[in-house]
Symmetry: C2
Subunit: 442 residues, 2 copies
């Protein structure tokens, strides 16, 4: 499969669409760059969002179990009010003094281990990873980057070049090395740490032999685009130590696992018991407002910043800061991660019950409310498993529930609801999933 083609997408002519939608798609294709993709065989269109729900023009409600940007739910009234209030008052940039900027920076850094005590703001997760790579290369004096086999770290030239997930058309950097993960390689959990460390050491040896050296290990601690390979907790620790020994920095890509997604911790790396040199933030930081950050250790960030000007026009402006501040306040005040953990346990228990039925659930992996659910009936081919996953995703979409696929073979359901989901939503999701499985595989 050419991995550049997002499998869960609209393909012209594949489904009959109402005239209103066909016409809009034709106009869209005429004016937007060809790099855009629409999700689902029959694309969705929403005119209103509220909490866990999205509503189409006919008033039909869709349960959102996919969007991890609005972690506090769609259109959270306190967040949108904070944004609107600040935008009407002033939007100062970071070259002006602004107590709110400093207050939020302090609050954010306080959620990290003591070693990580500095922050630089960005506008997107891609910008965060791009900046982290710049810092790591500057501080280490090396160029090499190690990522997982099917990693995705962003859309900028530098991050796309270390994102094998983007497929053959997007050239990889000559300085990137991919390592296998123990899970997809079929390595038992008892040998996972050893296997991962050996992979990393071999990549380091290769980078060193070529005089490239290792600048960074860049990892999303739940390995979402690889197919959500989260266990056993701690399996990355030996690899992390090996990179440090070799003079490289460890960058935790927290764009997806961060801000309580994993439930037990605010940050994904904590689940593995490691402390990175740099952590990169994005998606849920502003519940939809474009804001990201690099939080890191003082030494590399000072080394970079002392001579390198990093001036990002919009990043850290008061509107973004006020919005992100409201998000952090609500996350902490309403104990969102703790509640998400309880919901993840309910969801996992329900999925395990479903997996006992002969519907083709062949694996369940999760860290908090980020789930990978492998689909495929016994003895089927990769192509048929991928096709089954796509069929389930589209059946659920038609039934009013949003999920998508992930993994090297795209036969894993990617399920990551807003963190505010409650028992009733989990139960509705499980019922819809059972209906879809019966329809497709029953």
């Amino acid at each position: 499969m050419s991995t550049d083609l997002m499998p869960n997408r609209y393909i012209p002519g594949e489904a009959d669409l109402p005239g209103r939608e066909s016409e809009l798609i034709a106009r869209r294709d005429e004016v937007l760059g060809a790099s855009y993709r629409l999700q689902y065989r029959r694309p969705v269109h929403f005119v209103r969002g509220e909490g866990m729900w999205l509503y189409d023009p006919d008033g039909r409600a869709y349960l959102d179990f996919y969007n991890n940007v609005p972690s506090l739910g769609h259109c959270h009234p306190e967040v949108t009010a904070a944004m609107a209030e600040q935008a009407a008052r002033i939007s100062a940039n970071t070259r002006y003094l602004e107590p709110k900027l400093v207050d939020y920076a302090e609050r954010l850094v306080d959620t990290f281990p003591n070693e990580l005590d500095r922050v630089v703001f960005t506008c997107t997760g891609s910008e965060s990873n791009d900046l982290a790579l710049r810092i790591a290369r500057f501080a280490s004096g090396n160029e090499g980057v190690i990522v997982s086999n099917y990693a995705y770290h962003g859309t900028s030239a530098a991050t796309a070049a270390v994102s094998p997930n983007l497929g053959d058309a997007v050239k990889l950097s000559p300085f990137v090395r991919m390592v296998q993960l123990p899970g997809p390689a079929g390595v038992p959990e008892s040998q996972a740490a050893e296997f991962f460390e050996a992979q990393i050491r071999s990549a380091i040896t290769d980078l060193n032999r070529r005089g490239i050296g290792v600048a960074a290990l860049l990892i999303d601690s739940i390995f979402s685009s690889d197919g959500v390979w989260v266990d056993p907790p701690g399996f990355i620790a030996g690899g992390v130590a090996a990179v440090r020994e070799a003079g490289g920095l460890v960058i935790a890509d927290e764009v997806q696992p961060g801000f309580g997604r994993t439930g037990e911790h605010m940050w994904g790396f904590e689940r593995h018991g490691i402390v990175p040199d740099l952590a990169t933030l994005g998606k849920p930081m502003g519940n939809g407002f474009p804001i990201g950050a690099v939080v890191g250790r003082r030494a590399p960030m000072d080394q970079f910043g002392a001579t390198s000007r990093y001036s990002n026009t919009f990043a850290g402006n008061t509107v973004g800061i006020a919005t992100a501040d409201a998000v952090l306040t609500i996350l902490q005040r309403d104990q969102i991660p703790e509640k998400a953990l309880a919901m993840s346990q309910r969801l996992r228990a329900g999925l395990e019950k479903l997996a006992m039925l002969p519907y083709g659930i062949s694996g369940i992996r999760n860290a908090g409310l980020f789930f990978g659910i492998d689909l495929g009936l016994d003895g089927t081919t990769p192509a048929s498993r991928r096709s089954m996953a796509l069929n389930v995703v589209n059946a659920m979409r038609d039934d009013g529930v949003l999920v998508s696929t992930t993994g090297a073979n795209e036969d894993t359901l990617k399920v990551r609801p807003p963190l505010v989901c409650q028992a009733e939503h989990v139960d509705q999701f499980l019922a819809a999933m059972e209906r879809a499985l019966i329809k497709i595989a029953g």
Copy 2:
């Protein structure tokens, strides 16, 4: 001078500051990355913005002749209302059908020459230039990039590597070539086009001899970071043609000149009578909301997009689109560029009068409301001219007017007020400038 040090900045200990501000700066330095800089010897702090004015905590008003992001003025009520309304309703991403996205894309593309009929949205000007470079390299099959001697095109790894303005600490790409501009090289206007073309051809020859080839000429048509070298209109045309002949694309960096800044045209490249292959947008597009875009010709954008997925989580979301749509509506409805042109003529006339007095104005260059004003008394050294410019900027700041410096020697005042400035603001600015010049050079 090490150009990585932004000259117009706060230097600890240089000025006595009130305790409240010293304390905030100390906290700021403790938590923000060292890459941050504060403007002015005595940094400013604003708690409210309205139109052309910013207000400090003591209620003192500052006239903003510097910020080109809030082109429609600070906190424009229609823009902030459009943002707030949309944020409270829904923020859909571009993988869902959304008529507002398509409507705005069509409206935006309509402001360009017919050849440029496709758009991809981003969140920042840096992301726009980064993506444009990816497209140009993909479509041309080449790697080389040509920029002006003191260009600045962004903060991402790929754009910083083609931004000599960032100074020695930020490594340039081995594939970038810098060309001299006729103005700062002292070439008379009658020979400017020929000189520029010769520079470009020589860069192309060098790139070809090394097997790198030319992917793109990347230029800001008002050459703002070079010191605002805008004349004569059309001087870049021969160089543009040479790049096309060599198989490269022409990228107009419209982050600063775009959206009517030059008054006579919506886009800066129009002033030079050329049509680029790609145009990159940012700063004023959302009057402060983080949104940018690449607008381009169909062929390269389709070639790139057919196989390369470009998925930017926040870019093109409905809140950004609704905000940018309000900005475009106001720009067109209120004839902002035309009014800006009239104000630029008033400002230019006033500056020319000031230049006849012995206060050290040695050059005035502008395209619409983007001015470069060279400072320096006859026969003085570069260091003393730079110091004079800094002193004038800080005297004006103390007098309640915001401007800054630019150019290779940073002895050029950079003046770029919101486009909504009126005659009274222009006159206030001129009076403040005269007071500062008398104080510093009189």
